[in-house]
Symmetry: D3
Subunit: 335 residues, 6 copies
């Protein structure tokens, strides 16, 4: 079993007016390439892992720029397909303090939404991999994305690869006919490591566990009972105090043992997009390098420090993250 990590999901362009401007106040926008699973891939690549991302981009200069961006992280893009559909994108107006950020999507007819199982050679893609990471965003985008992902999960399961899942349920997806909770339950059943908490479990299982520690423990037990392949559950708690201030904490249930991290605070927040993905990447890196408890600490620190990074992707090295784990508050300049 290799240490290579495979991710699958949309490559999406983010467009955002600079500073705290609204679109009406702007003549220009900053852009970044990301996407929830690609964010995980990129962050892992920054930390030195070998990563391959599987996706579909547009067959034009936008898609080429997306691929160049992935390559700049050292991600293996050899299985990225190009199609005639435009690259998915979203607009972001960045909030501040008591004003929320706003997002407008243009992804449901994009290149990834038009993916189909015949475009991916999963056997080849998964060869030599130790981890396969997916999220609940992909199957919510289109039936083709759902079918393609499902085939990948089946193949990975057969090959005995660890499957990590962030079942991020988003109500603004799932427009193509299938029900989110049913699909997610089906797909989560292939997974071995669950990155989520009470909200996600309630959503998938239709349960009503409470959000506190006890509720979390019971929800986890219920999940493990219904889906026995899941042997580890890690959860991130992100408390958005205001758009400019954030608290993060990790908690987990592994082999019946509960543990949690300390609460980290980030003020001011530079960018909150992709902080959950930073958690997932930190966790996978942690699982590859540390014990479960340290992995959770590392994931929580990665999540916290991502709030200080512009764009969707955590640009911090493992060393940077370890400094946060070790309590460095950032008040010194590294010369």
């Amino acid at each position: 079993m290799g240490s290579k990590i495979i991710t699958f999901g949309e490559v999406i362009m983010r467009l955002s007016p600079p500073g705290h401007r609204t679109m009406k106040q702007s003549h220009e926008m900053e852009f970044f390439f990301g996407g929830t699973e690609l964010n995980v891939a990129s962050s892992l690549a920054v930390m030195g892992c070998e990563v391959k991302h599987i996706s579909c981009v547009s067959d034009d200069f936008v898609g080429e720029a997306a691929i160049a961006s992935m390559k700049s992280f050292g991600i293996d893009t050899s299985l990225i397909k190009k199609t005639e559909h435009p690259l998915g994108l979203y607009f972001l107006e960045v909030g501040s303090s008591i004003r929320s950020s706003r997002i407008a999507y243009n992804r449901l007819n994009g290149s990834f939404a038009n993916i189909s199982p015949d475009q991916v050679d999963w056997k080849k893609g998964l060869e030599g991999c130790g981890y396969f990471h997916w999220t609940g965003i992909s199957p919510g985008i289109s039936e083709g994305a759902y079918e393609t992902l499902k085939q990948g999960l089946q193949t990975a399961q057969e090959m005995g690869i660890q499957i990590t899942t962030d079942p991020a349920y988003r109500s603004n997806l799932w427009k193509y006919g299938k029900k989110g909770n049913e699909v997610l339950k089906e797909l989560v059943s292939y997974s071995t490591i669950f990155i989520g908490g009470v909200n996600e479990i309630n959503e998938i299982l239709g349960t009503v566990f409470s959000l506190d520690k006890e509720g979390f423990i019971e929800a986890c037990k219920e999940l493990k009972q219904q889906i026995p392949s899941i042997h580890k559950i890690f959860d991130k708690i992100r408390i958005g105090v205001t758009a400019s201030s954030q608290q993060t904490q990790g908690r987990a249930l592994v082999d019946g043992d509960y543990f949690e991290t300390e609460l980290l605070e980030v003020t001011p927040v530079v960018d909150r997009i992709g902080t959950g993905d930073a958690f997932a990447a930190g966790l996978i890196y942690g699982l590859l390098n540390y014990d479960d408890e340290m992995a959770l600490k590392f994931a929580n620190a990665a999540c916290a420090v991502k709030h200080t990074i512009l764009g969707d992707i955590n640009q911090c090295s493992a060393e940077d993250i370890l400094e946060v784990v070790n309590g460095n508050s950032g008040g010194r300049i590294k010369r």
Copy 2:
């Protein structure tokens, strides 16, 4: 009586080095069109109200850009005159934390300063209007602005229009010979709704009421006694903790009843210019749509959220402001 709102006042250009730079550190400046009464007009237009602004701009491409900016909000600019005098403007160096912001004005010989009563057809302008909003800035700029405003107030009074007043006294104006407090007292006498507090009342009446709640109530009673046409008084309390942190609260005396809002805090402050105007706009919108107490809450929330918006003008919809009224702290992204 229609729901249309008329505002009258200078259209002024703001020029500001980007970020936290001083002018010495810059080669470029951001610019915005605003002006205390126009800020009220624009904010009301953003919230969907029908608004007409009356003013004078320069007859050059600067004035044209100012008009295009007003039109972009949907403001009726049909009564904006063009003259050979340059558009008023000011420079702003934005402070931070313990460093104050600084303003340098260039407005006293501009197009609005050279306005005269014969340039405005008030009868036509006020037709079908329900509210007329003015501030104490206009009569402080020039004798012509004073005369023009006075004629408008007389006409509005005759037509039975509600007149809202923000008597903003500024010591750096009033260079043309008249005394600010005397003029303001004369003009406030036409008003029906007073947006101001102890400082403004003391300034106008020459009284020395204290700044606390009791002082406020007594000052309001004295104002109502001396100027019986005023039937509602709404005050905003803005406590600038630092240049980057602000607290706001509203209080009011209506028909002898005192009420106040909770204290809202904004950290970090993006821009504090125009926050008083956001309060006035929020109040007028509130009076048109809610009862007095809710109107005050709405005005205070509008004032608070404006601190997170770049430029002079509150870009938030009524929906955005209601979220703040309802306690949304901004920690969530609206997808």
Copy 3:
């Protein structure tokens, strides 16, 4: 018959890396709102005409910014609908000298592509109008756009409104099943003024006239014979020497009379998008204000000077364009 002008077509956002950068070399993009028919509308509004644009935009902050942009020109946006589909957009890499510009579209599932006849009240929209302008882009986008336009043309014809047509055939459209040339022939049949030349006529009629003066005259005669409602034909010849140098010329056949303008040269080219739309707007303005020959000169000058303006839309006033008609080479500063 009023002098108001109606335009119908997509509102599209253009995104372009600044300067001569490629997308790979950029972290930001400039954006503009345009669209071939909206460009005509905006240019006419800049010249002081009363204009209403009919379209569909996204029901999010992107659509709001598009509307604010239209309002800033003074365009009547009261018949713009909002729908859940994202606003159409395209990416532009600006070429230079011997390097061509490149465009990548994302419009075929946007808000305008999803328009349908029931969303437009054409009777109300066309009331009081003298001119209705459309182009061959709209019916190429989707069947709904085709149906909606057709209904508008029928109504305009019934109301006796002048219909100007720029049959811009684009091979990268027409993906929804209908054949471009057939549809265009059908829709051009409603028109009274044809803005196009040999290429367009050959495309629509399936003819093979030559591109020289004689070919043009014969093609025009054939078009008038097959579509008798067309009584005037105006053509723009744009010769792209390099991406940075351009020549423009106008020619026309009206009532059997051929006339042409002098050749204008523009070096360097700032932006060549929307130069055909500047011609159309110049022509309509010219027809409203001058005789046919002067209208053609004015249109050609408008087309030429647009090459010096950033963005899709000609920002020049009629006065600016007349200076070019009168041979002002631009070598003086207007103080």
Copy 4:
């Protein structure tokens, strides 16, 4: 007689949308400090001359930034006064090709317009100077500027200082009551070196000499006859082919001898503001270092190369200018 040079005139701020944008298309503007006589002073300082500028700026952070800008060139600012009036400024929309540039001024009530003779100690200012340079802009701004300049000229004449004059007549000035041609004739009478040609002489003397070589020679002779103190006349011919292409040539009449330079061509033009000032600075530098004919060549090259420099001020060293004199076409990179 020292080699120090004194200049007197307005310090003015220029504000310009970046690139080829109009103000309507912008949210930011680049700014530069300049002013026709300050441009001469700055260019001379860049070339290593000792220069002192006499003027009035605003007593705020804008004036401070203006002084810092002058100091950065090494200009002696010890006689710059600060007053409560705002700094003069102008807006510039930069044209391109067949589109002209446009300027909108805001200077007639600024700090320089409010200067008065009692604010300048001319004796002290002119001590040790060899050259005093002035232009016809200053006396056109206000009576105070006229009176102050006149006093300076009288003092300089008494001290035997060379007085160079660029009588730039501008019809958009002279709003304060005096007639431009009369004032200019009076003030030119103090001068010893005249930088101007047929247009300027016709304007001042009320003559109608033709613009060709013969007309120039006769006009110069007439000027010398009417104003005997003038012993050298140097003229720049700038032919603006388009806003993006320019030709320059120098000609002169010294002691009855006519000579002229070759024609230099500049394409593309980066900035044409201040090119006449670059000529004047080049001429003064040339007169201090070369014979008259070489001085004219140097001045013409300085004028030409300024067209490639952003802002009002020629940033080129004497070495850079000599390269142009020597025919370097700019096609090599200096490593």
Copy 5:
């Protein structure tokens, strides 16, 4: 003894990606000229002091731009030498909250590192000066810088000039062979005013005093005993809470008396580079204008307010700093 101040040290260019971007996320960098001793010089010049800086810059357009920057503050640059070596520079990635800032240097073979004693005429340089300020950065860069500085200190001592020392020990310097603590002890022996605390004293003397008040007092006494020429010791305590939040406090031991200032807090931090230099400049200004205790308060306020200023150099006037001394929190706009 004059009030002129001499500083000696590297002129270094800082290059930093804008906003919170990393270099990988950027295509552009902001640049500033600074250097620890030049920062002191510039801040003193902003406050109106007469200052001369002695250094070496590159003989190219980078060095010229550095000199222009110094001149813009009014610093006397007549003793700045130009050499063929490139100007020293460093890259800065600005951190935020729990993410530290990072610096990468390129200075050890630059123009200042190649300075040698024969390039500086110290007698001429120090003429008429009251203060000579140096830091421990300079002798850590190269042997030539050490030798040159030593010669300056000897000359200053002979001339009876006050010598202020900030013995900033940096472990990433001292690559040329000498030991930092030994050299610093030798050079500090020339000084009369010591700007440093327990860490610096321990480093120089090899002692192990504790960081608390008692440790500070004992360390100061030990320093005075070993180096009797030092008669005043002032220390700044900067507590970096996070990269975005900072506390500052001053303490001192003068003639056996201990005193300290209140703690000032700055949130958010705009820029923490040069805050120690702002303290030193504030102290020297204070010693020239106030008593020792007020000088310390002024220095601490200068240090605090510098955290709100972009770039290496404190741009605040003495008036601005006095406002902070007097407790102005920055929450008001200065109109």
Copy 6:
């Protein structure tokens, strides 16, 4: 023999004020990573070739950003070493028209200058390669670079790899003791394909052939006689008309046959840095895919079109370049 290409040379950062600004006029600079051999590598990678670059970068975030930039092109960076020395860099002020561009270097003590033969495993590096490209810049930087390159050339020769040489002699290098012409002659002796002309041959051989066609042919024959391993000679003629206008032409002598391309003209020039490298890359690509004559045409077109691309590196695909070969002047937009 594989088709993989190896390049060896400095990775250098370019820093340039935006637009046509000088450094004195700027507060920011654009940056790009390049280097003459890396430019060749990058251009080849853009065209789809497999390329590996061998070099040394700084062990800091600057070096990391350089590597990410190389990876974004898909270049194999596995043999890039990291050392403690800073990355080499240069500053560029971009000229215009008759004003030349200026460069200031900071490279002679950088990470590449400190390279030594023991840092490169040439056997491993050259495995499977078909082409090894080097230029005369590298051995001019330092003795270490010379020794390292020499070792590489010896290894490549032994392995029978094609060696392409651009002997770019630069007088501002060669500071470390060796004579440029002697070293270049020695190293060129390993090469098989010579990319240069009369100037380079005269420099290396000490001959005085004339620059015309006959001189070129004779010079080539002399070179082949003295260095028999060279079997093909390709030359680029770049005629810089002004800083904004350029002409390019290719000529060659292969097996005694002379051939040349047509002259291509580029106006305006966007960036002339790296145009020679674009020629070399185009040539190598051409030799891999076409016959010699087409290879020269392709190289000349690549060189020409690079003048329209910002930065050091040709971003054009082979398809883009073929369009120029086929005479497309750039006057059309590719949709």
